[in-house]
Structures are given as C-alpha cells and as structure tokens.
C-alpha cells in the first residue's frame, strides 16, 4: 500500500497504516509523529522525514527511512528493526528492550538511555557516525555500537555511560581512555578497555548487517580498535545508603 502523507495529520496517516495488514510505503513524509507506533508484522518504508517517536513501542515490524529521522525514534521499542538511511535526533532507543536500530549517519544526545535486556531478548543500536553526549546513560542491558565513520574527531560526547549498570557499549576510536576521562567524555563508574578480538566477535554480525544495509561492501571494521565500555557494578546505588 502506497500512501502519500502530504496534507495528512499524524492521526489520519497512522490510521491508514494501521488499517491494513499490508506493507506500507509512505511518500512525501513531512514530520508526522508516531509512525509505526506499536507496529508488528509488516514493513513500513518512509520516503521523507518522519516526525518524533517513530516506531515507539515497536513490536516486530521493519521500519525503513530513506531520509533523516527526528527525536525519540524507537522509544520503549520491544522488537523489530528500524533502519535510518540518514541521521537521527535525540533520545534514540530510549528504554528499548528488544529489536535492532541501524543509523547510517549520526545520532543526537541521549542515545540508548536505559536500554535493558532480559534473557535472549537483547536490544542493539548501531550508529554509523558519531553520537552526542549522554550516550547509554543508565544502560541496563543491550549493545550500543558507534562506528564513527566519517567522524573527524572522537565520535562521542560527554558523560558517556553515566549510571550504566548493565549492557555493553562499543566505540570505534583510537582515543586513549585517560584522555577521554580527563575531558569528561567518559566517567569513572564505567570500565573502558580496548575490546579483545574475542569480545569483538559479539558485534561482528551487527557490523556485517550494517554494511549490508547501507551498501558498504565487505566490512572490515571489526579489525579496527574498539573501546568496550562495561559497568563496574550492577548495583550502583548499593553503597549509597545507611544500613537499616
């Protein structure tokens, strides 16, 4: 089903998408919010720029955007896949619990905050370019991969991983941990070390998928240097309180 979103408000557009079990291709998209909210079992292709909260609570659908996306993409996403052939705004994948998000370009502030995982359900975010500050704050599970492709500088902002108590963040960079700490790009409650080849096997399939999605040919990125960020405890507040 092909839908022209021109002149449609978000409710009308979303009703059209929900009214069919067919795949949907949305043309002329100009900032309509909540597209693919809670969607399952279909492919939604968007030509243009979807508005905030694209794929919130996504529950199994595949969402592809041929363009940039805005804030709160994949908020509280439960499953499925979101592919952005461009950049995304802030708060990408907030509290995401399952599924995968691939962004060809950059992501804004507060990416992957409070992602979590449970048993085999593990969310993954792959950012091709750079991310803004507060990446992976309160991270409770899942994997975030920042490839830094085309980045002139260190592909991360300030206070990465603050409050992290689960999950892993991989950042492709040659920067030294000490200098990242000195510049407040990293915080002390996160253990940051160069990822070993064994550890990198965990992300190989996601990098191959990224390369396939965005036509990068055979990716050899996994041989590059990645920093692996892990929490130093899964009980960060335990020491904060008095005994009963």
């Amino acid at each position: 089903m092909v839908i022209s979103a021109a002149q449609l408000g978000f409710r009308e557009l979303n009703e059209k998408i929900k009214s069919t079990s067919e795949d949907a291709c949305i043309n002329d998209c100009y900032g309509q919010r909540f597209i693919a909210c809670g969607a399952s079992d279909k492919t939604i292709t968007i030509n243009g720029t979807p508005g905030n909260a694209l794929g919130a609570y996504l529950d199994g659908a595949l969402v592809q955007v041929n363009g940039n996306a805005q804030d709160a993409v994949g908020d509280t996403m439960n499953g499925g896949k979101i592919v952005i052939h461009g950049n995304v705004g802030d708060a990408l994948g907030y509290s995401m619990r399952g599924g995968e998000i691939y962004v060809k370009g950059d992501a804004g502030y507060r990416t992957g905050i409070h992602m979590k995982q449970y048993k085999e359900i593990k969310p993954v975010i792959v950012i091709g370019g750079s991310v803004g500050s507060f990446l992976g704050e309160y991270l409770a599970g899942g994997i975030i991969i920042v490839l830094g492709l085309g980045a002139e500088d260190i592909p991360m902002g300030h206070f990465t991983g603050t409050g992290m108590h689960g999950g892993r963040i991989y950042i492709r960079t040659n920067a030294e941990v000490d200098s990242l700490l000195a510049e407040n790009l990293l915080v002390t409650q996160v253990i940051a070390e160069e990822a070993t080849p064994e550890e990198l096997t965990e992300i190989e399939s996601y990098i191959s998928e990224f390369a396939a999605l965005f036509g990068m040919g055979e990716a050899k990125l996994a041989n590059d240097r990645f920093l692996l960020l892990r929490p130093n405890t899964n009980n960060p507040y335990k020491q904060l309180y008095t005994k009963i």
């Binding site: 979303n14 909260a53 509280t76 509290s95 409070h114 979590k116 899964n234």
Partner: protein
C-alpha cells in the same frame, strides 16, 4: 561500635509466656530467641522494628513493644531521632532511607476541615431508603454537545474510566510489594468495580485477567512496558512524580529482583531496577504531550491517560500545562504519600500537603476554563471516608489510597518497607514471609474497608442533603475550617467555621 540505644523495648511477661516460640518463628528480624540453659524466651531490642507481628500473634498476649524510656537528655532542639540519625550517618556515611509516608509534625488540613449537614431546610437524605449515587467516571469531558444532521447527539466522549465509588488503589509495584499483595488488590478492585494500579514494575502474567480493573503505569524506567501491557488495562498512568519522594526516581535493589519480579520487569536477576529521576525523553510539556500521544496511538485512543505528579510548589502551573497536554486525568500526590523506600530527607522535607495542592489546582484549572479537560485524582494520605469526602468537596473527582489499603492488609506502619523483611508479607519477596498474606483473606479485608467507606460516604453526603458524588465535587460551601489562618483558608477556598 554502635552508639545507639534501641528505640523500642520488647517487654515479655514471663508469667504469661509459655515458651511456644511463635514470636521467634514470626520475626524475620530475629528479635526473639530461646535460651536453652534457662529454658526461656529472650529478645534483642536492637533488632525490633515495632511491627507488632509478635505481640499480635502471641497466643497468651505475653508480649508488648513499648517506646524505650531510655532517652537522651531532654532537648527540644535535638530530638532523639535527630541524634540517632547523626549517629547512623557518622557510622556508615550513608544516605538515610525510610519507608511509608512522611510522619513528621506538619499540619494535617483534613483534620482542620469540618463538613456541613442539613437542618430543617434542604432536608438530609437517608441513604438506607433513598437512592444515593456513588459512581464516578474519570476522563476528559466533551467541550460542547455536537449533533448530527438529524439532530441526534453525536457521541464525542473521550475514553473514560467508570468506577463504582470514588476510591482507587494507588500505584504500588510488584517488587515493592508481594505477589499476594498485588493479587489482593486486583481481586478487590474487580469485586468492587474500581481500579488498582500496577506501579512501575510491569504486570505479572497471572494478573492480565484483572485488566478491566487495572491501571498500567509507565514510569521513567519503563519496566515491563510493551504494547500488550499497555493494552491490557483500563487506563495508562504516566508517573512523573510521587508524593513520597518528589523530584527523585526509584530504585529497587538487585536483591529484590528475583524470580517472577525479574521476569515481570524484564531485567536480569540481581540487577538494580533504576527508575531515573526524570524521564529522559521528557523535558517539557510538549515532550509530555508526545509521550501521551504515543501511548494513545499504541492503544488506538481507547484508554484515558493519567499523568501523576507530586504536589510541589508550582503544582498549579504544572497541572495547567498537563491539562493542555492531551492528558485525560491528573493524579496529584501529596507529600504524605507512602513509598516503599525513599531518602528520609526527601520524604520528610519536600512537597506540599495534598489539601492545598488540590484546592489550588482545581482553582487554577477553573480560572483558566480548562477544568473539564481533565479529571483530578487526589492521593497522598487519604486515611478515611471523611478525607475522601473532604477531598472531593475541595475539587477532586476521585482519590487514590495506598497506605490505607496496606493497613487493611495487615501493615502496622513500622515504616521499614525498605528493609524487605516485612513480617506481614506485604513489602517483601521472601517466600516464607509473602505466604503470610493470604490473598483470599486480603482481598476480602480490602472489600470490607471499601464497603464501609462507601456507606460512610453516602451517610455524610446524605447528611448534607447531597445524593450524588457529582454534586459534592468542588462543593466547598460544604466545608468550614477550624484553627486556620486567613491565608490557609484563602488557598483552600473555604470559610472559617462560624462564617
């Protein structure tokens, strides 16, 4: 070395004591023991939290817990409590934690408000022989009546919650309270035709069948939130704040993330469940609007969305923003509201009394002509049916009770929920303790309490010559203040007794 002398003493009458050992078995804090050599029961006062489990269950009533007479030298400035808190912090370097609501000596305005009754004119109504409407419905009211071309009224009612009485059970997560406590609340809400609230811990798979009487909560940690969960209840509550700990988030320690709680929250066992202080995707009313509409989209506009906030200094302006954000209902939580665990200083020093918050929010929304955009739920220490009636007359559509419901289930307000050793089987996940709360008994006690309150509410309304909750709503002429200053009366919008 511990510098603190125990606050409570366990006094055992050895003439009555039969050494049956029930007290020892019942106390998860291990305050009771048995001395083989002397063949008598012993106790350790330092471990007692004064929860009354032993004294209530002692078959010969041989035990009583009394406040220790051994106090520091009298000092109106430095209370025992203050000195002990300093000792504890000096020893541990830790933030003080507390459970349940603010116990400090602030004014309780409900206790300074008196209700009216009819005499001679506008005769009172006897609820035993005349119909009395206790039903309420919560949600946005239509702005105008719309008619179709045949002149028939078009239904433009936004989604509503229908309740048999204006009292609901407030949010308490599975994790902070036990499975049996949740089951008691769910079954009672179903039997009563009201709602209980999941709190931020997701919904146990066994409780989806109570969905019609469930409010599902979405808070900053988004634990257990997915489309099936959101569509399972009758309403969705976005928790922005909580009266027991305004301005901070929640934290369920990893030690409580076990078994089903881990599965329901969908996080691994042993990992802390952290709900950040803010929602990191909400920095403005516009952002809140976005979350509200994303929830409406995922539930196809079939469920009212509640936004719950703690009563804080600018509550009226905040509520005004929320009433314009697309929310259907605002829940206001006063500073005496309970909590499973909060930093003591936050609990005891932050927020506003619900009576003042409720009155000023109702006024503000009326002044701005947007009161009908939303219903208002008031919580934060509603202790009796009289508080319910006063809250509704001040402007609430409905109230939330949490502490009162737990007391009905057996809570003795020992205020050590955060320890996780609740001897009454409520605020604990230890299987030997949780099984002490039988949901079969628990739900009946809740139904009893609510039935009694409903009758009392009807009696008080009847006395005032009012036969429906709708007519009581915001009816502040039915209220008079005693012992309040002019400013307090002005904010509450009521006259002094005698005026």
């Amino acid at each position: 070395m511990n510098f603190i002398y125990p606050e409570y003493e366990i006094v055992r009458n050895h003439e009555k004591c039969t050494n049956c050992g029930i007290c020892k078995k019942e106390c998860a804090n291990e305050a009771h023991g048995f001395m083989e050599s002397a063949s008598k029961m012993t106790c350790d006062d330092a471990k007692c939290v004064n929860c009354h489990r032993c004294s209530v269950l002692c078959p010969t009533k041989a035990i009583k817990i009394i406040k220790s007479g051994n106090t520091y030298k009298e000092n109106t400035n430095w209370s025992n409590k203050t000195i002990n808190e300093i000792q504890r912090q000096a020893e541990s370097g830790g933030v003080l934690l507390s459970g349940m609501g603010n116990p400090e000596n602030y004014p309780v305005y409900f206790d300074k408000i008196l209700l009216n009754a009819s005499q001679v004119t506008n005769p009172s109504i006897d609820p035993l022989r005349e119909p009395m409407e206790s039903k309420v419905h919560l949600g946005a009211r239509p702005k105008k009546i719309e008619r179709d071309t045949d002149g028939k009224i078009k239904s433009n009612l936004k989604p509503q919650m229908f309740l048999s009485m204006p009292v609901m059970f407030s949010a308490m997560s599975y994790g902070s309270i036990s499975y049996n406590a949740h089951e008691s609340l769910a079954r009672a809400a179903t039997e009563l035709g009201v709602m209980y609230n999941t709190g931020e811990g997701g919904l146990h798979e066994n409780f989806y069948k109570y969905g019609k009487n469930t409010i599902v909560q979405v808070a900053s940690g988004r634990f257990g939130v997915h489309p099936t969960y959101l569509n399972s209840g009758s309403a969705i509550e976005i928790k922005m704040g909580q009266g027991g700990k305004p301005g901070i988030g929640g934290h369920l320690p990893g030690t409580k993330i076990v078994g089903d709680i881990s599965a329901t929250r969908m996080i691994p066992e042993g990992t802390d469940a952290i709900s950040p202080a803010p929602h990191h995707d909400i920095y403005s009313i516009e952002d809140l609007c976005q979350l509200i509409y994303s929830l409406k989209e995922v539930t196809n506009y079939t469920k009212p969305v509640i936004v719950k906030i703690a009563a804080v200094h600018n509550v009226a302006a905040i509520a005004s923003g929320i009433a314009r954000s697309g929310a259907d209902i605002i829940a206001l939580d006063g500073f005496r509201g309970g909590t499973g665990a909060a930093p003591t200083r936050i609990r005891d020093n932050v927020g506003l009394p619900i009576e003042l918050a409720l009155a000023c929010v109702d006024d503000r929304l009326r002044d701005e002509g947007i009161r009908n955009n939303v219903s208002i739920i008031a919580g934060g220490s509603i202790r009796s049916s009289a508080d319910v009636v006063k809250a509704i007359a001040l402007g609430a559509d409905c109230v939330y009770i949490g502490s009162a419901a737990l007391i009905a289930l057996g809570c003795h307000l020992c205020r050590t929920c955060h320890a996780g050793n609740c001897n009454w089987g409520i605020a604990t996940q230890i299987p030997e303790l949780t099984k002490r709360l039988n949901p079969e008994v628990g739900y009946k006690r809740l139904v009893n309490l609510m039935t009694a309150w409903r009758n009392e509410i009807k009696e008080m309304m009847g006395g005032m010559g009012i036969n429906a909750i709708e007519s009581l709503k915001g009816n502040r002429l039915m209220l008079r203040g005693v012992g309040m200053n002019e400013k307090e009366l002005e904010i509450l919008g009521i006259k002094h007794a005698g005026e």
